[in-house]
């Protein structure tokens, strides 16, 4: 920007000129109001306040009280105030004018008004006062709907960035916990904030993250997931490469783990990166319940993972290609239940899975009041009626239902989605080549997972590359007594200035 253009952008001495220019910019913005008032001896001088009524709280008396302070420094009052005196007041008391800010250019004025400031322009003064009164209505802090917990804290994030930061900061009150801000987009100018624990975060990962996220600042970011899509390594991979949470305790634990968290204004989702496959197997609550129980739950989730991914395909492979592998009595039961069904197992499974997916999608999008109708219709159609009509066998219904339940038991929705997607190639492979096909798809999946990276770190970290030390918090959770003495926490102790006990 050249000096000339800055000059034309600067506020003018003439209040009518300033007002006209502002009114031009804010024309047809029905919620921006201009209010004129006079001051000084015989109300000789003009002042104009501008504010956006949908963002600013104009009813507050704070403004009045604060305005009284300005002339107070010079033991004057508004009746004897002249622009000359006012200008001197502003110059002398520049620093002590908090919470006012002094605005010098039109740009500043637009931005302040749009951030809920009340801006006051004075006659013959080329500066304006901005007074923050933002009071946009926001959602209250509630329990996160998607991540409920029996034990542990219940507060969830809201759409208010500063409130979210307050919640996080109150959990980690340490100067090593950094928040860096970026502004994205030319129009929305929404704030992106990323936080990390200095010296605990891997500097290579942080540098890589910075490099990638800085390129998004030219574009409009409306939700945290925009950043996810922008920085991820493999866009076409079905697997989620970052993790989301609405729980501040999960986010704080991730920060202590050396992860980077990302928040975006107007979104309650906290993005945690880099995320590894094993991260999607845990929840915050795992650390709040007894270790033996949480180990059991972890095992259950592993089972759910395997079932959700392979059960329908396994059924297809066994029933069409390898009936000799099924124990005889069970085989007879299956043959019995499949009698009279016109479709091969693959087609049967495909129909049932597809209708299950349809039901699930319909259930999410429908208004809550009609939602229960879907489940009734679903239970009748894909359950009872399909069996009666000999379209599907009861065993198939059990298989599909079990698969559905297993995918609900996976704590992270993103991972459950990827399993839903992968189930179909698995089923196709099983129907073409049976167990061998299943094995081939499994190896392909594993190959993809091993080659996948999240912010430069291998996605299967602690499984492949194999890190036995991490296994204390993978499929079992060792007692906290052991877990908290791990090398990771020794690092934290050093950071906090304490010497770890041997």
């Amino acid at each position: 920007m050249t000096t000339d253009s800055r000059k034309t952008n600067a506020l003018h001495d003439d209040i009518t000129f300033n007002r006209e220019k502002l009114e031009g910019v804010f024309s047809r913005c029905g919620d921006v109001h201009f209010q004129q008032w006079n001051y000084g001896d015989g109300f000789a001088f003009q002042a104009v306040s501008v504010y956006c009524s949908s963002l600013a709280d104009y009813s507050s008396h704070l403004l009045q009280r604060a305005l009284e302070k300005i002339p107070g420094y010079e033991s004057e009052d508004w009746n004897s105030m002249t622009p000359e005196k006012l200008r001197r007041c502003l110059q002398v008391n520049n620093a002590s004018l908090q919470p006012f800010s002094l605005l010098e250019s039109f740009e500043n004025v637009y931005e302040s008004v749009m951030h809920g400031f009340i801006v006051i322009l004075f006659d013959q003064v080329n500066q304006a006062l901005g007074f923050p009164t933002e009071s946009a209505a926001r959602r209250q802090i509630t329990e996160p709907v998607n991540e409920p917990a029996v034990h542990g804290p219940r507060e969830g994030t809201t759409e208010d960035l500063s409130l979210n930061l307050t919640l996080l900061r109150s959990r980690i009150r340490n100067p090593a916990f950094k928040f860096e801000f970026l502004q994205s987009g030319a129009v929305t100018k929404s704030a992106i904030c990323f936080g990390y624990l200095d010296e605990v975060v891997n500097p290579d990962v942080l540098a890589e993250f910075r490099r990638r996220v800085e390129s998004i600042t030219d574009y409009e970011v409306l939700e945290t997931s925009y950043i996810d899509d922008w920085i991820q390594e493999s866009t076409l991979s079905p697997f989620p490469q970052v993790r989301y949470t609405e729980r501040t305790d999960t986010a704080a634990a991730a920060v202590l783990d050396g992860k980077i968290i990302v928040l975006v204004e107007n979104s309650p989702m906290i993005m945690i990166c880099p995320a590894f496959l094993v991260d999607f197997m845990g929840t915050a609550e795992d650390y709040y319940v007894r270790s033996i129980f949480s180990s059991f739950i972890r095992m259950l989730r592993l089972l759910a993972f395997i079932i959700a991914l392979t059960l329908p395909s396994l059924y297809i492979a066994l029933s069409t290609f390898h009936p000799e592998l099924i124990p005889t009595v069970l085989l007879l039961a299956i043959v019995d239940s499949r009698e009279g069904i016109p479709f091969p197992a693959f087609f049967e499974a495909l129909v049932m899975e597809a209708s299950f997916e349809l039901l699930r999608e319909a259930g999410i999008r429908l208004p809550r009041t009609v939602g229960s109708a879907v489940s009734i219709v679903g239970a009748l159609v894909i359950g009872q009626a399909a069996i009666m009509a000999k379209i599907a066998s009861p065993i198939m219904v059990i298989v599909v239902a079990l698969t559905g339940i297993a995918s609900f038991a996976i704590p992270h929705y993103d991972l459950a989605i990827s399993l839903r997607l992968l189930r179909f190639p698995y089923m196709i492979a099983a129907s073409l080549l049976g167990g061998y096909g299943l094995m081939v798809v499994f190896l392909l999946t594993l190959l993809h997972l091993t080659s996948l990276h999240s912010l430069g770190e291998p996605y299967l970290t602690s499984i492949a590359p194999f890190k036995p030390r991490d296994w204390r918090d993978l499929f079992v959770r060792v007692p906290l007594k052991v877990f908290l003495r791990s090398p990771r926490n020794r690092k934290l102790l050093r950071l906090g200035g304490r010497r770890p006990h041997p």
């Binding site: 592998l325 167990g435 061998y436 190896l443 190959l447 590359p465």
Partner: protein, 374 residues
């Protein structure tokens, strides 16, 4: 995070060695060995392991003496550039045979045991494509992935061997040397070639390792090689104990063993597990061999390492595995008679030759140095 994605650490190298040696052999080797050596199979195997250790020692000596250069690189140094071409080509031809034999064996297994109506070229093609995709992802991805699969494979194989305990009859192990020493020597010949002698081919992978301070490559490789040998001797003993003199007639011994398992109503029909172990083993070995062919080719002809060659190579392997073996009997002859001979004479001979030249050169160098100082 390391920017260099083409290196592996010592643990991963040791894991790869295990995958390479155990690979498909854990399912395949007990049968031809017991057919040749009868009850003495495990003795021939132990002796073959001794032969493998000698080869491994040579390979490690060459690796250390030449500062971690590859076989092609030190062959150039030792016998000259021109002579390296035929040697390298010989190596590559051997590798082609090995990769295709491993790949074909899995097709044979499936078409003869589990899926009799599926044509074998389907298994050849899919298996090879899978290997090509994996080999293309680079050695680090392979090392990570195989480390995981190795445990899976060993777990499944051990599970079957443990569950089969009720059918073992230790008395079957006797008598030893029933027909004199000759059958034992025949067994030694087979197993010294496949799988123990094949370590001379694995030497191509040694240059990829990056050691950390205080690590000894020899110790780790001897340990993992011995572990692999143990994992091959144990199933051989298991099959002899289970089937006795009949062990030589049952193809895919571990598979047969798993069929026999019947513990209450819970543990039965365990064949699928061995099928999985076999697929994993063959897949890993075929991938490693394909990767080694590729490395040999680009090093021998100084090509750019951009993985373009991987697909033509794998297509060649697909065609070879479909055409190389006329029948299972042909496969038996080629893999258990010709291949061990090639490995021992050509592979082992070359490595011994290199070792000898290096040793002599080193001695001369030392003598010259001593001469200088005195």
């Amino acid at each position: 995070m390391s920017s260099d994605r083409s290196t592996i650490n010592l643990r991963q190298l040791a894991g790869l060695l295990c995958c390479y040696v155990i690979g498909s052999a854990i399912v395949f080797i007990p049968n031809p060995l017991t057919a040749a050596a009868g009850n003495d199979a495990w003795i021939s195997m132990t002796l073959a392991y001794g032969f493998g250790i000698i080869m491994l020692t040579c390979v490690l000596y060459l690796h250390n003496r030449h500062d971690g250069a590859s076989v092609i690189a030190y062959s150039r140094k030792l016998i000259g550039r021109t002579a390296t071409y035929p040697v390298g080509l010989l190596y590559i031809l051997m590798l082609f045979f090995a990769a295709c034999a491993v790949n074909a064996s899995i097709g044979d297994f499936f078409t003869s045991v589990m899926m009799k109506r599926t044509p074998s070229y389907i298994f050849h093609t899919i298996g090879m494509l899978l290997s090509a995709l994996t080999a293309r992802s680079g050695i680090r991805v392979m090392a990570r992935m195989f480390f995981l699969l190795l445990w899976l494979m060993l777990f499944f194989s051990l599970l079957v061997m443990i569950l089969a305990i009720p059918i073992y009859q230790p008395a079957m192990l006797l008598p030893l040397f029933e027909n004199g020493i000759k059958p034992m020597l025949h067994g030694l010949f087979i197993s010294a070639g496949f799988p123990f002698g094949e370590i001379v081919i694995f030497a191509m992978l040694l240059p990829f390792v990056r050691l950390q301070a205080g690590q000894s490559i020899s110790k780790a490789l001897y340990a993992s090689y011995s572990f692999s040998a143990l994992m091959l001797i144990v199933p051989t003993i298991c099959t002899i104990m289970a089937f006795g003199p009949a062990a030589g007639y049952f193809n895919y011994s571990l598979y047969r063993l798993s069929i026999e398992i019947h513990i209450v109503e819970l543990f039965q029909r365990m064949e699928a597990i061995i099928g999985i172990a076999l697929i994993l083993g063959s897949y890993m070995k075929a991938t490693l061999l394909l990767f080694i062919i590729y490395q040999c080719l680009i090093q021998l002809f100084n090509l750019k390492d951009d993985h373009v060659l991987m697909y033509p190579l794998s297509v060649t392997c697909i065609f070879l595995s479909a055409t190389m073996f006329q029948s299972p009997a042909d496969f038996q002859e080629q893999v258990y008679t010709i291949w061990p001979f090639t490995v021992i004479v050509v592979g082992g001979g070359l490595i011994l030759l290199f070792t000898l030249i290096t040793w002599i050169k080193h001695r001369r160098y030392l003598q010259a140095e001593r001469g200088d100082t005195s």
